[in-house]
């Protein structure tokens, strides 16, 4: 059951989850979170190499379900050292000031099959946005797998100075594949 006690600790703006039991944490090695941005209409995939979290989903008890993810902003891999060091700077993700981006669900509603939607708060570069994210659950062996995509606005979160708006799309798609 998903009713095991959980303690949520909020420290210095970072939320960490201390769970006594429940679903296992997301397995980093088999999961991925990939941001796709468009520059001059060229889609470029960049993966976050560091993240952690947990998705507790029980179709029978959606109200008791929860999702929380934390992503290390300095772990974004653009495939070149120059781009990687650039994107950690103040104008972009500002990783020294905002090392972690997080998503914390506030509501989960079950859909047909393995589908459900989770509404929650995305915190990125010190700004928050409430998002509703459709998620598909499947199983790989015994592990639960959660797939979905969310779309964010660079401008809203202050990522990239306005000089870049001519060559870089505002919309960034973030695709996640989370395996427990």
């Amino acid at each position: 059951m998903r009713t095991s006690a959980r303690v949520w600790l909020a420290t210095a703006g970072l939320i960490s989850l201390a769970a006594a039991a429940g679903d296992p944490a997301i397995n980093l090695a088999s999961s991925s979170i990939v941001a796709t941005f468009r520059q001059e209409n060229v889609p470029v995939d960049a993966a976050f190499k560091g993240f952690s979290g947990r998705v507790d989903y029980d179709p029978a008890h959606p109200a008791a379900s929860r999702a929380i993810m934390q992503v290390t902003t300095a772990s974004l891999d653009l495939g070149s050292a120059d781009y990687d060091s650039e994107v950690r700077k103040h104008d972009w993700l500002d990783s020294s000031a905002y090392p972690v981006a997080s998503f914390v669900s506030s509501a989960v509603s079950a859909g047909a099959g393995g589908h459900f939607t989770t509404t929650g708060t995305l915190t990125l570069k010190g700004r928050t946005q409430t998002l509703t994210v459709p998620v598909t659950m499947s199983r790989a062996d015994t592990a639960a797998v959660f797939d979905g995509t969310l779309e964010i606005s660079r401008r809203y979160f202050g990522i990239g100075s306005p000089d870049w708006n001519g060559v870089l799309d505002d919309k960034v798609r973030v695709k996640f594949h989370l395996v427990e």
């Binding site: 520059q39 001059e40 209409n41 060229v42 889609p43 470029v44 995939d45 495939g79 070149s80 120059d82 781009y83 650039e86 000089d163 870049w164 001519g166 060559v167 870089l168």
Partner: protein, 192 residues
């Protein structure tokens, strides 16, 4: 001027046209401009800091390269289906050298853009021609392969630049020192 024997039998030589086709001349000069600008862009853009201009120039460089690749395919097929003019009288070693340089130019006009495209694929940056058409990736993303490819692309691009200089220097030498029609015939053309 000495009367150098031509490479082919006289009857075959005589049947060859005196001039290039208009299409061949146009392709030659359009590609000259594209290759010079693509090379100049490429050699300079890599030194720029991380600015929007840099990304723009990379895009233009890739579009130029893909255009060169498309044109060299057209040009190669045109060349294979349309007779080129007979050689100007010149010593046999110069004729062989000129033909070898032409062969190397064709090979590099093909190889340099292809390596650039493959490098772009290996780096995880697909090529979107003219911001409109996304070209297929030639290889999957692979950082190690990308390093080899960018080195090969750069090395062969500089080789191409050197061979272009050699080709142009030889054309100027024929024009100014030998007074033959080598360069002039790239300015005039036949109709078919």
């Amino acid at each position: 001027m000495p009367d150098y024997a031509t490479a082919a039998p006289a009857a075959v030589e005589a049947a060859r046209p005196r001039a290039y086709t208009r299409t061949a001349v146009a392709l030659h000069w359009v590609m000259t401009v594209l290759i010079l600008s693509g090379f100049t862009l490429g050699a300079n853009m890599v030194r720029l800091g991380m600015t929007p201009l840099k990304l723009r120039l990379f895009a233009y460089h890739k579009w130029i390269g893909i255009t060169v690749l498309g044109l060299v395919l057209i040009r190669g097929s045109w060349r294979l289906t349309h007779a080129v003019p007979q050689d100007e009288p010149m010593p046999p070693w110069q004729r062989s050298a000129a033909h070898a340089v032409h062969g190397v130019l064709y090979a590099l006009m093909l190889a340099v853009p292809l390596l650039g495209w493959t490098y772009s694929s290996a780096s995880g940056y697909p090529v979107v021609y003219l911001k409109l058409w996304q070209l297929p990736d030639l290889v999957p993303k692979n950082a190690q392969l990308a390093q080899v490819l960018v080195a090969a692309h750069t090395y062969l691009a500089w080789t191409l630049a050197c061979v272009v200089v050699l080709h142009a220097a030889a054309a100027l030498k024929h024009h100014f020192f030998d007074g033959d029609a080598t360069l002039r015939r790239m300015w005039s053309w036949r109709r078919s």
